[in-house]
Assembly symmetry: C2
């Protein structure tokens, strides 16, 4: 999916909501645990209930790997279901991979070809030859960690480096990588005040913004400082939506919460 | 496995060799492709032929994920085989994971509990709360990327930050994390000259050193600058060993190459 197609979907749905699928057997409603594949059953119900309010889904790969083969199978079924029933929805493998040359190519093939995701999150620490292999696939995107929403971001990302923070250096350096037009960046909503400076470095790139809601980030601030003429934002929400209810009404509760966020986003798009 | 037990194995085998299992269907001998599980058949043959010359195996997780369910199954069988037949050998899931809190815990459980690896490689970019979850498991280790062997390492890792390179800052900061005694660090052999300074920051930690051989690093230099009284080194070799021959003699060729490296290491241990 190209940036332009993604923007079209955002305009059409009046939403730039991404829903995280951090599907956890300990948190899904009890009645689902009788199903043959509880992880997929939960995801399918969430997708069926929320797809009209969002433009992207982001399975967090760790949650599937934690269940071994059964988890991987549930992930495969989830992405197949999305690609078959909702091909207009952008898909993000939240994997935060980062490794050199031929290994990066393996990861890219795993997520882009084997699983047919539209994008994968990538860590920048190993530099150019760990990122560029993800940028060789037309219509596919690498979403590079820049400034994350967690406390540990202050350990290294914001530390000054020749007068610039490391995350600024990451944005600048990566912008010069081959096919950087296929790059998006992760910027946490908890650090919305940084978005003004970030937009000076990557004025047109899509930003994937976690941390609105449970982590305390403000949607209004993110839009004020981060939105571009082509929108340029995917704002992620996970727990507030997928775990809105622990009962048999979990899907309806998720839909209500997703609609609420979509309605807030629609106002920002006016 | 504790550091002390690992050192004992090194002394016993006169080797600090780690063999990378970057098992690639395009590179394994043709006759294995008729097997039901070619990836596992290759790994088993390599392990059977080389285990007396090495103290660690390091499957590169990307290579298994690239084959989806079949790959994950082969990875499971490989680690089960190692734990059953060679419980004294240290196992490394080369996954380079890095994500926050509960996600990091998921990855840790996937590799330490689900698959029962002794260690997993971890990326530092997201800071403390992305690393400490891996340090909560007695007898298990996180191996943090510090200074990697690839060209892209110069993009960010070696750049000066308040007078110190980022990789030095990573070593210093991580040394203060809770249970940092369970940390090891990746330092590429192609940058052996940095080892002298690295040993000032982490004098006692085990270092996992890739890049000897195919990538041009020197074993002698690595030992000169990086070896401690408890050895403190795991030197990895992958392609030179596992792809030493493309024919039906691949396992014997791998054994010969592993023995050659072991013999070089034995001299350094004198």
């Amino acid at each position: 999916m190209t940036n332009r197609e993604l923007t079209e979907q955002i305009r059409k749905k009046r939403s730039f909501l991404c829903i995280g699928l951090d599907t956890d057997l300990d948190k899904i409603p009890g009645h689902l645990k009788q199903e043959e594949d509880p992880l997929f059953s939960f995801n399918k119900a969430i997708i069926d209930a929320t797809h009209e309010y969002c433009v992207a889904y982001k399975p967090n790969i760790a949650f599937y790997e934690a269940y071994g083969l059964a988890g991987w199978k549930a992930l495969e079924k989830t992405i197949e279901y999305l690609n078959e029933h909702h091909p207009d929805i952008f898909t993000i493998a939240d994997a935060k991979r980062g490794d050199i040359g031929n290994t990066a190519t393996r990861y890219a093939k795993a997520f882009f070809e084997q699983l047919n995701f539209d994008s994968v999150t990538v860590a920048p620490y190993m530099g150019r030859d760990s990122v560029e292999p993800f940028l060789q696939f037309p219509g596919k995107h690498a979403i590079l960690l820049a400034l994350t929403s967690n406390q540990g971001a202050f350990d290294f990302q914001t530390t000054a480096y020749e007068g610039k923070a490391l995350y600024e250096r990451v944005l600048e350096t990566a912008s010069a990588y081959e096919h950087s037009e296929r790059l998006m960046y992760v910027v946490g909503a908890t650090k919305a005040e940084y978005l003004q400076d970030i937009r000076k470095i990557v004025p047109g790139s899509f930003l994937l913004v976690p941390g609105v809601g449970a982590q305390g980030g403000s949607l209004q601030e993110v839009c004020k400082y981060g939105m571009t003429e082509e929108v340029g934002l995917l704002v992620n929400s996970t727990r507030a939506i997928i775990y809105a209810s622990e009962g048999t009404d979990f899907a309806e509760a998720a839909a209500a919460k997703a609609k609420e966020l979509r309605d807030q986003m629609a106002k920002e798009l006016l």
